[in-house]
């Protein structure tokens, strides 16, 4: 912003104040909030179908990445699906999916292309997410979840040498 730009403040209309009431029947009290959380929990069966679809799509995108020789365009295709997976896992009590997908997203964002080493690390993340779902590792995944994440970190460190 240039020094001589003087910000102009505008008091915006607020139609919400006329439409929203406080309290009474239908208001969002703690019980309604709990019920809304329950609605999400009840969708977890659907989530398992969605994530199965995403795992299939990310595997296909990964195959495309491999056959392309690791181009930026194919990295972005894998990113797009990983980003969706990151955004959904935690809502349905699969925070491990969010954690691993987030790590994968950060890695993909940092790459301009993927060589053999990077491709292997990407594969490891995808395989880990598949195990989380196949083994039903909800929540933090207990001891097995801890081992899985530690194992992934270890192998990634080894691949990166």
């Amino acid at each position: 912003m240039a020094e001589d730009d003087k910000p102009q403040v505008i008091h915006a209309p607020n139609p919400l104040s006329a439409k929203v009431t406080k309290g009474g029947p239908g208001a969002v009290d703690p019980t309604v909030l709990e019920k809304a959380e329950q609605v999400i929990a009840e969708m977890s069966g659907e989530y398992l179908n969605w994530v199965a679809e995403d795992l299939k799509k990310i595997q296909e995108a990964f195959e495309g990445l491999k056959s392309s020789g690791g181009t930026k365009e194919n990295l972005e295709k894998v990113f797009e699906i990983a980003h969706d997976m990151k955004g959904q896992g935690g809502s349905f009590n699969y925070p491990l999916i969010t954690t691993v997908a987030n790590d994968l997203c950060r890695l993909l964002e940092s790459l301009e292309s993927a060589g053999a080493k990077e491709t292997e690390v990407i594969r490891l993340h995808i395989d880990t997410m598949r195990v989380i779902i196949t083994d039903g590792m909800e929540g933090e995944g207990g001891k097995a979840g801890k081992h899985l994440l530690a194992g992934l970190a270890k192998v990634v460190a080894k691949v990166n040498g």
Binding site: K35, I40, S91, F92
Partner: protein, 185 residues
């Protein structure tokens, strides 16, 4: 947390992922909202706005052909925008500092990190109801008052880093509380 009745509000959800649209819609209905419309990208959403008087827009970031940032700028500054003042909640998996700042500078009101919960979504809706923000026109920016001016120097650094092809690996993910502090000062 104050108890508000949301049934008269018109919500517009903009997300290219049909599962996210279904999830957000289900939460809003569970919170008592009756009017919830959805669109799969910014261009579709902008068309919807011509005949749907949205009170709150809940918008994803990554979408084609018009992403959440471009959509927000279009709503705020487009000549044919039906409602430049409509509150927008950016709902995204991007939680890095530079991304949150970028979203704020496009003219959003609130930022909510995915994965979401009902409590998280309601808290952002409540923030919009309880804290109506004045709008500011400053340079190329038009949108809700961004308040925290001290952040400007930080933004500068991030932009330079991006221009140099730097990656955001040094940028940690922000928690929702940090995001709110950043947006609301």
């Amino acid at each position: 947390m104050a108890d508000y009745n949301l049934e008269r509000l018109n919500f517009l959800i903009v997300d290219d992922n049909k599962h996210m649209r279904a999830l957000v819609k289900s939460i809003l209905h569970a919170l008592g909202a009756k009017n919830v419309l959805d669109a799969s990208d910014g261009a579709d959403a902008f068309k919807e706005l011509r005949h749907y008087p949205a009170d709150i827009i809940i918008c994803d970031w990554n979408m084609d052909p018009l992403d959440g940032l471009d959509f927000t700028r279009l709503v705020r500054t487009g000549n044919d925008s039906p409602n430049p003042f409509v509150p927008i909640i950016m709902l995204t998996g991007h939680t890095e500092m530079n991304r949150v700042v970028e979203a704020r500078d496009s003219g959003i009101h609130e930022f909510l990190a995915k994965p979401i919960s009902a409590k998280g979504l309601y808290s952002r809706v409540r923030a919009i109801i309880e804290h109506p923000r004045p709008f500011v026109r400053a340079g190329l920016y038009f949108g809700p008052d961004r308040r925290r001016r001290a952040l400007a120097s930080y933004m500068g650094q991030e932009r330079r880093k991006d221009a140099e092809g730097g990656k955001d690996g040094e940028d940690g993910d922000l928690s929702q509380a940090e995001v709110e502090a950043l947006l609301n000062g």
